[in-house]
């Protein structure tokens, strides 16, 4: 018998540690070669750790949520030695898994939406009668099969026994907890949820951004009536299988144009070294809601993409982020970020900058509002932009100038397409 030690792989990009987000095995489990043992998360990408050997798991080196240093032991696996070979192999052979780079391109690393379930918690069957809802075995069976917690059902039978009728009525009410005739019931339950994985990443980033960056948020309203007309016209000729334009590609192109004139907002600020890096490339992060939480896939080189290309890339990345198949490179490296809640966009937001960037543009909801044109009120499609800037490196004046320039471009969308 030999023992393999699987170490936390070097997942690249100079990452020194990764967070363990999922175990796919536990001590005592048999594993086969290539079976996925665990998932670790770095930089918002989840990487699976396959087993290089067949054997039995002896030891797990971390708990879900733990941060594990690269090269630190992660799993020990007992393997059957082959004949004389076993003697030749030292008891604690060390194998480091090099995560093949091309493997990253392979489909979904981990079901990010899957709830992490720990091993069943074994407990002794309760034998006391106390607190058990009173019901006949047949009623209990119906409840189990219907997924009904009988404690929620009011029993009308003798001694509060729950009858079939009670269950019928409960189901007829849509299985809502019964409203006690005495009035509203107090709830005293507290559910504790461990913040792990993506949620922890989000939490850390938000703290970093808000604690380090003095935000200035600037809200301006934009008349997008003409833009919407243009968009409708451009989309009208599209076939059903072709990507249609949303507001975002126009905004992205407008930003690219504005950044040409005002490169200070397309920057990253390393506040430890005190260096601002102004980027030639415009890599636009698109804040995207996924089942697991907020991620920011990045449309790289928006400056080199036409409007249709931008549109297609946004759609592709959003889908990849939602299904968890986005590559690590696709989830990092943005130089400026757009956040949009679509129809939920509200009137104004106070976006938090995607550290170490210095600007974030928030898109609010388009609403038809009465606008005074000098002689009368006319209905116009209005949209607010709520944008935040790192006030350490972007002055209010510059921020306002930047937004006003974008406003000008979006209100007269033809300007977006004119070469300067």
């Amino acid at each position: 018998m030999g023992e393999f030690v699987i170490k936390m792989p070097d997942v690249g990009e100079g990452v020194a540690e990764a967070e363990l987000v999922e175990w796919h095995c536990k001590v005592g489990d048999p594993v086969r070669e290539d079976m996925v043992l665990a998932a670790v998360m770095t930089d918002k990408a989840t990487v699976e750790i396959p087993s290089p050997v067949t054997g039995t798991v002896l030891w797990l080196g971390a708990e879900i949520g733990d941060t594990v240093a690269v090269k630190a032991p992660l799993v020990r696996i007992q393997v059957a030695g082959e004949g004389g070979e076993a003697d030749a192999v030292p008891m604690a052979e060390t194998v480091t898994i090099e995560q093949p780079f091309e493997k990253l391109a392979s489909p979904p690393p981990a079901e990010t939406k899957k709830t992490i379930q720990s091993a069943p918690v074994a407990k002794a069957p309760a034998e006391a009668h106390v607190d058990k809802p009173l019901a006949s075995p047949a009623v209990r069976l119906r409840a189990q099969e219907g997924g009904i917690d009988l404690r929620q059902v009011t029993g009308t039978g003798p001694a509060g026994r729950i009858t079939h009728d009670d269950l019928d009525q409960f189901l007829a009410r849509g299985a809502q907890p019964s409203i006690m005739p005495v009035g509203l019931a107090k709830k005293t339950t507290v559910e504790e949820i461990k913040v792990t994985g993506l949620r922890r990443r989000i939490s850390e980033k938000m703290v970093l951004a808000t604690s380090r960056i003095p935000h200035i948020t600037y809200v301006e309203e934009i008349d997008v009536t003409d833009l919407e007309d243009l968009r409708a016209t451009m989309n009208a000729s599209r076939k059903p299988d072709q990507t249609k334009l949303t507001i975002l590609p126009f905004l992205m192109r407008a930003m690219v144009k504005t950044i040409d004139e005002q490169p200070g907002v397309n920057a990253t600020f390393d506040d430890d070294t005190g260096i601002i890096s102004r980027h030639g490339a415009v890599h636009i992060g698109i804040a995207t809601q996924t089942p697991a939480g907020l991620t920011v896939p990045v449309v790289r080189h928006a400056e080199a993409r036409g409007i249709w290309d931008c549109a297609a890339e946004v759609v592709r990345l959003a889908e990849a982020a939602r299904t968890g198949s986005a590559l690590r490179e696709e989830l990092s490296g943005s130089t400026i970020t757009i956040t949009s809640l679509g129809a939920m966009g509200g009137i104004a937001t106070t976006p938090i900058i995607n550290h170490p960037e210095v600007a974030i543009i928030g898109v609010n909801k388009i609403m038809t509002r009465p606008v005074w044109d000098g002689s009368q009120f006319i209905p116009r499609k209005m949209m607010n932009l709520s944008s935040s800037f790192d006030h350490r490196v972007v002055d209010g004046w510059d921020a306002a100038t930047f937004v006003q320039r974008i406003k000008a471009l979006l209100e007269t969308p033809a300007l977006i397409f004119i070469e300067s």
Binding site: A119, K123, A124, G147
Partner: protein
């Protein structure tokens, strides 16, 4: 090496295992069951069934003996009966054999694959079975451990020679003249009583202050009285120390601290049963324990995913019908149904003379759980049927909550009361109140009237006392 891959693997074809396999088979689950000895497990081969056969034969023999001594008030007299224990045992073996093949037939009918041999875990999903035709590897998605239990051996009184366990006691070819039973629990008393009725001189050595220590004194009293009538000597507070040097007597220390020698042809050790946790590779799995037992949750899951455990290996009460209910539940879980263990009571029967039945909580247990209770007791000496059967000892006792009369427990002691166990358990499972039982017409004349009368008594208006 051959390999079988299946959805469900059941290890052990005792009452828990075979029920689990049959139910799984019925539900279309691809199921394999492994049994090292014989289908039916302890219960069917060396436990419940053979002991009840022996007890019945002993009862019949004693009844006739009683008549032969011209003691019967029924006016029947007969010649002294003779016993050929070897024939009795052969008859018992016949019953066991029929049930054995019955279980195998049911398994086959449910399309369960049966593998004979001793299973050993290789890992949580794979077992090796040493069969007559070689090593068989079975790989399964879900494994159910149903390896049961075995008699506890006393280190200073190891099995062998005159020292026997219940297994050997059920296959004796002759009735021992002098039988010493170490352990006055239900197994020891059932067998001790049977052998006394068959003509043995029986002494019971019990370390605690009461025989049948799990029952309250009120329930045990009729049994103790009957043991006396049968000439069985009961030494409570006495400890077995070992065999005498000559090997024909048991050394004990009495309650008073005196050393005594009890002459014995056979010494039956029935000091309890322990879960069978060795010999099948439990160490490979390292499952969580609850004392000596495997720890399970309310779905009979162990600490390892995909590994369930049922029956005696999972704890007290070590009863076949508990194992069966667990087995059925686990099979349904494996088939994708939503099930959890929600039983309110596991009735227990002690086949002493007279029999003892318990279901739910005793008065003491109910009080210990904080219930305000009312108790109704109806003695069989006020029951017509009991009088006509010459067995008026015993009673039915019912325990209910005093606030809403919900029945918490029912106990009975008396001849034939084992058959009342279903009524008791049903009342508790259905959530019956005293009024439900009192208002149910119970057929006259039967012992079951005692149940109704006990409920009436608890309500304060018994009719026949």
């Amino acid at each position: 090496m051959k390999e079988i891959v299946c959805k469900l693997l059941v290890i052990g074809a005792g009452p828990g295992g075979y029920i689990c396999a049959i139910r799984a088979g019925q539900l279309g689950v691809d199921t394999v069951i492994v049994e090292a000895v014989k289908a039916g497990g302890t219960c069917l081969n060396i436990g419940c069934i053979p002991s009840k056969a022996l007890i019945h034969a002993a009862e019949e023999f004693e009844k006739i003996n009683h008549m032969a001594n011209a003691k019967s008030p029924l006016g029947i007299s007969v010649e002294a009966p003779k016993l050929d224990l070897a024939k009795t045992i052969a008859w018992k073996d016949g019953i066991v054999g029929r049930l054995n093949s019955g279980v195998l037939g049911l398994l086959r009918k449910a399309k369960v694959k049966i593998v004979h041999g001793r299973a050993k875990f290789r890992d949580g999903k794979t077992v090796e079975v040493e069969t007559e035709t070689g090593m068989q590897v079975i790989r399964a998605e879900t494994v159910v451990i149903a390896t049961g239990s075995e008699p506890v051996e006393l280190p200073f009184l190891p099995f062998g020679g005159p020292v026997i366990s219940s297994t050997e006691a059920l296959s004796l070819k002759t009735v021992p003249q002098k039988l010493v039973v170490v352990g006055g629990g239900y197994i020891g008393l059932e067998l001790g009583t049977a052998f006394a009725k068959l003509g043995a001189q029986v002494t019971v050595v019990e370390a605690t202050q009461q025989i049948l220590p799990q029952y309250d004194a009120e329930l045990v009293r009729p049994v103790a009285k009957r043991l006396g009538e049968l000439g069985i000597r009961v030494l409570t507070g006495a400890r077995a120390k070992g065999l005498s040097d000559e090997g024909v007597a048991l050394r004990i220390e009495t309650a008073e601290g005196e050393e005594q020698r009890l002459p014995a042809d056979k010494i039956l050790v029935t000091v309890g049963r322990k879960p069978r946790t060795e010999g099948w590779g439990l160490d490979e799995l390292d499952l969580d324990r609850a004392g000596k037992f495997l720890r399970i949750d309310d779905s009979c899951r162990t600490s390892m995913r995909g590994v369930h455990a049922i029956g005696d290996i999972t704890g007290e009460p070590m009863l076949a019908h508990r194992a069966m209910a667990q087995g059925e539940m686990v099979a349904e879980i494996v088939a994708g149904k939503k099930r959890t263990w929600d039983k309110r009571c596991i009735p227990a029967v002690c086949f002493t003379d007279p029999e003892i039945v318990t279901a739910g909580l005793s008065p003491d247990e109910a009080r210990a759980q904080g219930y305000e209770i009312r108790v109704g007791l109806f003695p069989f000496n006020a029951n017509g049927r009991a009088m006509t059967m010459l067995s008026e000892d015993g009673f039915v006792r019912i325990v209910a909550r005093s606030d809403n009369n919900l029945v918490l427990g029912v106990q009975a002691v008396g001849t034939g009361v084992s058959e009342l166990s279903s009524a008791f358990a049903l009342a508790i499972e259905m959530g019956a109140r005293l009024e439900d039982i009192a208002a149910t017409i119970h057929a006259h004349p039967t012992r079951s009237e005692g149940f109704q009368e006990a409920a009436l008594k608890a309500l304060g208006h018994a009719l026949h006392i």
